[in-house]
Symmetry: C2
Subunit: 270 residues, 2 copies
């Protein structure tokens, strides 16, 4: 492979724009995966890659070479000199390999959607690290669908992808989602964490049925419309002198309590 050496190259310009601009990603419907871990996760889930772009000096690195050997032959490989490779990388310490992909577009529809299992609704979660971490937790807990309201960070941005650690290839993610409309036909409970009076302890709930968990942004919490649509308010019993949990921690506790109850039920049914 002869490396590209010019910043004026159209592909280089395009990758740089995708790495640095949320608007460009939205306009083109494309994004970049940075690093061997994310690209390997995409391949593990048979997620289609459009192009693999490698730094000249990374070609010899075992991890990168293995990825190139493993990726389907029809995916175009492109080599950049090292300076250009840093230029198109969305992270501060470039890994030497990025993949160009199309952002998946699950059917939105104006009306309600069909869901095959649990759903997480994330409302106004703006911090990319928090958003990616919650997606990763939800995928690990076996959740199938994530609905992200308008105020959330862009799910397929490099920082959210990095924190998600591959969760994007496991979950079906709908962005700019009208969560209430999409959940119109959802058969299970809509649960919201709250410290409000009348909230029931997480540990007293029967979490066997598929649920829609709604988590709001740190500080503001859930929007009033979502909060009033909740069938149940759930509280996590906390120690004295502490008021609240980080939204990512709260999501982890709720989603894995659900997982624990289901595993216990399966074990008891054996």
């Amino acid at each position: 492979m002869r490396p590209i050496r010019s910043r004026d190259n159209a592909l280089v310009k395009h990758l740089h724009a995708l790495a640095t601009s949320a608007r460009e990603r939205r306009k083109t419907g494309e994004t970049v995966l940075d690093g061997p871990h994310l690209i390997a996760a995409a391949l593990d889930h048979a997620f289609p890659l459009k192009r693999l772009v490698v730094a000249e000096t990374a070609l010899q690195r075992g991890e990168v070479a293995a990825l190139l050997a493993r990726a389907p032959a029809e995916i175009e490989r492109i080599c950049l000199d090292d300076a250009l490779s840093s230029h198109v990388s969305p992270v501060d310490t470039p890994s030497g390999i990025v993949a160009l992909i199309d952002t998946p577009r699950p059917p939105d529809g104006a009306g309600h959607a069909e869901f095959s299992g649990d759903v997480v609704v994330l409302d106004g979660v703006q911090d990319p690290g928090n958003l990616g971490t919650i997606l990763r937790t939800a995928a690990a807990a076996g959740v199938a669908d994530a609905l992200l309201t308008e105020g959330c960070a862009q799910a397929w941005s490099p920082r959210v992808l990095r924190a998600g650690m591959g969760a994007h290839f496991v979950l079906r993610i709908r962005e700019q989602a009208d969560a209430l409309a999409l959940l119109a036909g959802f058969p299970g409970p809509r649960l919201a964490t709250a410290l409000a009076p009348g909230a029931r302890s997480l540990y007293e709930l029967d979490l066997a049925p598929a649920a829609a968990w709604m988590f709001g942004a740190e500080g503001q919490g859930l929007s009033p419309a979502l909060l009033s649509a909740a069938d149940g308010l759930v509280t996590i019993p906390m120690g004295e002198g502490v008021e609240s949990l980080n939204v990512g921690a709260a999501a982890a506790i709720c989603l894995f309590e659900q997982r624990r109850q289901r595993l216990a039920r399966t074990a008891a049914g054996r």
Copy 2:
């Protein structure tokens, strides 16, 4: 109060150094709390404040005025003009009030320590947001002590304090801790999360006895010395296609499973 207007003022220089320099904080044993929430949390726990420093235009704000009215009279109040107030604030969007405090110094000792309950050991957790979030989760779960190894971020830095949301006033935090030596006489199990063979499911463990939970940094995991000191390796059962959890999520799941088991036991004993 007549506001200070000069950057050459000794207190202004000192506060600016504390806000921006880990070395200065270490050298002086002092730090700053930024914002009404953290300062209110300190007052809630009768944590001693040395000085309250307020921006001129923040004096009229209800939240700030209420704090000033509530804080013990012997705490000196100092007013800065707004530009200086931003200069001494450790955050990008200054809240208009900071408090100067001494960083607590729990007894280190060369040998082992006495612990009254559960302990979390955080090993090499460098990300301030992650570290603060785990401290917050630990406090909410009722943990009493946190041991931070050398590679961790500085616990009393502004970013860790902000993510901790008051946990610093609930936990006893030892930094630069020789965790193995301190835990020498600890009566309960030393538990480490791992995907290693032989790890037992979190949900099969009896978590009634006080435990020392050891969490390693994302990526590297626990240091070999801590890992080999673990009495039990614990795994969190995850869904298919997902390898791992963020360390903050893993800590939340483990510490609140422990809390759930204890609450269930207390309820059953009634």
